[in-house]
């Protein structure tokens, strides 16, 4: 069926046909025709954020927690430029997102018109692909292509720039099934010879490890289930990147904790000493590898990834397998089973003996004493009091984020939303709004630092307007804690601009917005305060005053190898040399 309608109607119709139920946005002159169409229908909810960056992170939270693409609608010029951080964030973390921007009318493009910006030019490097639509007849096709590109292969953000005259003009609508999707079609099936090679390596490995990442979660629930099957059938230990938490359950008995710069001692030692590393949907990021030339020196490395450019980018691997994690793991399990389900089980139990020795170091230990709340303790109590809830966690960026990754347990995929690749302060609060929109009945908590939280605090208005009971759990150390930690370890304790000066009274701030504020400073009051937060039916700003100079350990200093990990304050003197100091 082809039908004539206005460009604005085409946009809304295409969104509906793509199954979109929620759009995060902010209006302005160049998108008024689309807002007018949104006003005249009831299938798509529009969430009015308070800043376009908020819209992008909310869309990311929505996408990450549902597996569906997030949709953003903003105006031209400043609306588009404000969305740049969120698109870059989504690109780094492979989050599917469709951003629709208004543009000045085609006949004014290039004239420095009011609120004109070269949006496709600005966003070319921070999207997977983008389009400027100059003809209303191309609009439907482009919309459907955009969904296809954003969600297939390695997911990512895409942008469609729509001039205002194109929104007003009439054109032909084509349905998704009829639309030309172009030639973009990344392969999902892995090469069977390579998969067989991996199965053979699994049979002879004495010290294997599975290193899983965000790609497992992106691939869908089935991939996470297959990862569990693989680990449970082979008894191989599993570690994960920050982005992959929840794909293998934290309460599973093959789980050895997160790896990387602030990962567990046992996970990093296992990576360093293993003889077979199976990387599943991760990308050997510098937070993971530490010093590249000392990275897991004696292992065979297998890399399963849907993006060919991830292979051999940082670490040379012996067996690359390009394909979708779900497809590859399914084939792998078939092949491995048909070959007789063999593993070096005796050697692997010995390997577990070694891992358990490392684990006995108890690398996350801290002491809660006196009248000051340790941030780790606050998170442990939060974990104890919320783990049985239908719970989603988002975070901001800093020490609190790493402690959240260390002290909260994720037993399912899509329950943990954090800004990994870009490390965007200000991500967590709007992301929690996006998650709560998608899961209205669930408990959604943003683990925040006071500094990060202030970066997008305007979204309190959004939470109130849409009655979203998001819990903002601020670990308030009155410091840009992670910056302060690096200055302590690297810059002679010269704390240059890492204080959070002139902080607001968070309780009053909450009340000013019409939300509930809770402040707690005494460890003895913590449990009651957390319960009060959970039980309050509405947004809560939870100001948890914590130890100001706590450092986040373990830590692999930048430029060091996995087995040169710092475990606590005692050993940090001179730990980071000038070579490492240039790294970020």
């Amino acid at each position: 069926m082809t039908r004539q309608m206005s460009g604005a109607q085409i946009v809304v119709k295409a969104l509906k046909d793509q199954g979109v139920d929620t759009v995060f946005g902010y209006p302005g002159g160049a998108v008024l025709p689309i807002y007018d169409e949104i006003f005249q229908q009831n299938d798509i909810r529009h969430v009015l954020v308070r800043h376009e960056q908020g819209a992008t992170h909310a869309a990311e939270g929505y996408a990450r927690s549902t597996g569906k693409p997030g949709v953003v609608l903003v105006t031209s010029g400043p609306g588009a430029t404000n969305a740049v951080t969120g698109m870059t964030d989504a690109l780094m973390d492979s989050i599917p997102m469709i951003v629709l921007t208004g543009q000045v009318p085609t006949f004014m493009i290039g004239n420095d018109a009011f609120q004109e910006a070269d949006t496709v030019g600005i966003t070319r490097p921070c999207t997977k692909h983008n389009w400027l639509v100059r003809d209303t007849n191309e609009l439907a096709k482009t919309m459907h292509q955009a969904f296809h590109v954003a969600t297939s292969g390695r997911p990512g953000p895409v942008l469609i720039d729509i001039p205002k005259d194109v929104q007003f003009a009439n054109g032909t609508y084509v349905a998704p099934a009829k639309a030309d999707k172009g030639h973009y079609n990344p392969r999902v099936k892995g090469d069977m010879d390579r998969i067989t090679e991996l199965a053979a390596l699994m049979e002879t490995a004495k010290k294997p490890v599975i290193y899983s990442g965000g790609g497992v979660i992106n691939s869908g629930k089935a991939a996470s289930m297959l990862l569990r099957e693989l680990a449970d059938a082979t008894k191989f230990p599993v570690t994960s990147t920050l982005m992959g938490l929840g794909a293998y359950p934290a309460n599973g008995d093959k789980w050895i904790g997160m790896l990387g710069m602030h990962g567990t001692y046992e996970a990093n030692m296992t990576m360093h000493d293993c003889d077979l590393m199976i990387c599943v949907g991760a990308r050997f990021d510098d937070r993971i590898t530490g010093r590249v030339d000392a990275f897991s020196p004696n292992s065979k490395k297998v890399h399963i990834d849907i993006d060919p450019s991830s292979i051999n980018k940082v670490i040379h691997v012996d067996v690359p397998i390009i394909g979708d994690i779900g497809h590859v793991l399914e084939d792998l399990m078939k092949v491995w089973k048909s070959r007789g389900r063999k593993t070096e089980s005796e050697a692997i139990s010995k390997w577990w003996g070694k891992i358990n020795e490392w684990r006995a170091k108890d690398c996350l230990a801290y002491t809660q004493e006196g009248k000051i709340i340790k941030p780790q303790y606050a998170l442990q109590r939060l974990e104890a009091l919320t783990k049985d809830h239908d719970r989603y966690i988002t975070t901001e960026v800093g020490q609190h984020q790493m402690w959240a990754a260390q002290f909260l347990g994720f037993n399912d995929p899509n329950r943990w939303m954090t800004s990994g690749g870009l490390g965007t302060m200000g991500y967590g609060f709007p992301a929690s709004i996006g998650v709560q929109m998608a899961h209205p009945e669930s408990l959604v908590i943003n683990i925040a630092g006071e500094a990060s939280w202030l970066m997008n605090m305007q979204e309190m208005g959004t939470a109130i307007q849409y009655r979203l009971p998001v819990k903002q759990f601020i670990l308030n150390n009155e410091r840009l804690g992670m910056v302060r930690q690096w200055q302590e370890l690297l810059h002679g304790e010269r704390y240059s601009s890492s204080w959070s000066e002139a902080l607001p009274d968070f309780v009053k701030l909450a009340e000013a917005f019409g939300a509930k504020g809770i402040q707690v400073s005494d460890p003895d009051d913590l449990d009651d305060a957390i319960l009060e937060m959970i039980n309050h039916d509405g947004p809560v700003l939870f100001d948890c005053l914590v130890e100001k100079h706590e450092n986040c350990f373990p830590m692999i200093p930048s430029g060091k190898a996995h087995n040169e990990m710092l475990l606590g304050n005692a050993s940090t003197e001179g730990a980071i040399e000038s070579g490492g100091a240039v790294m970020v």
Partner: protein, 188 residues
């Protein structure tokens, strides 16, 4: 072997030397990239090179299939084997890219560049310029009593050599197209 093939291990250094974990010899490769001829596609390719710190030694682009709206971009680039692999993979995942061919490794190929070279002079120098142009099989496409414009086609090295010969003879200006390249034989 194809005499026009650019030697491996020639040419400049890349900042990526520092990063490489294996095979750090710098190689020169000629890539043929088939793309949708849509707005911004060249910016995408160039942005990829500048954004990721890759080198472009030469780049040419033109529509080669009008009906299919396809353009061919020929890029000559340098880097370690690992970087070259990365460049190909990064190009390959751009949405408008159909195909990436590494002509340097996929078998013998032909590479040509065209240049227009203006030389001004009188007397003995003018005669010498004319004589040299014949040796290089350059054509005269414009002449005045005091100048020539030569047209020369060949490998980049041949053009380099001709330009060097013209320098003492009154070289005024050089315009070069960059390299166009194609595989030998009947395969597409």
């Amino acid at each position: 072997m194809n005499a026009l093939r650019i030697k491996k291990g020639a040419s400049r250094k890349s900042a990526y030397d520092l990063k490489s974990t294996y095979g750090d010899e710098i190689e020169t490769h000629t890539l043929a990239v088939l793309v949708d001829n849509e707005a911004g596609v060249l910016a995408r390719v160039i942005g990829l090179f500048s954004g990721r710190g890759y080198n472009i030694e030469s780049l040419t682009v033109a529509e080669t299939d009008h009906a299919g709206h396809l353009s061919r971009i020929t890029v000559v680039t340098t880097g370690t084997p690992q970087v070259i692999e990365q460049i190909k993979a990064q190009l390959g995942r751009l949405v408008p890219v159909h195909d990436v061919h590494d002509l340097t490794v996929e078998g013998p190929s032909v590479e040509r560049e065209l240049a227009l070279i203006k030389v001004a002079g009188v007397g003995e120098k003018r005669v010498e310029a004319m004589r040299t142009s014949e040796v290089f099989r350059a054509n005269v496409v414009d002449s005045t009593l005091e100048s020539f414009v030569f047209e020369i086609t060949g490998s980049p090295e041949k053009i380099d050599a001709f330009v060097e010969m013209m320098r003492p003879l009154g070289l005024v200006e050089v315009a070069r197209t960059g390299v166009a390249a194609i595989m030998r034989g009947n395969a597409g």
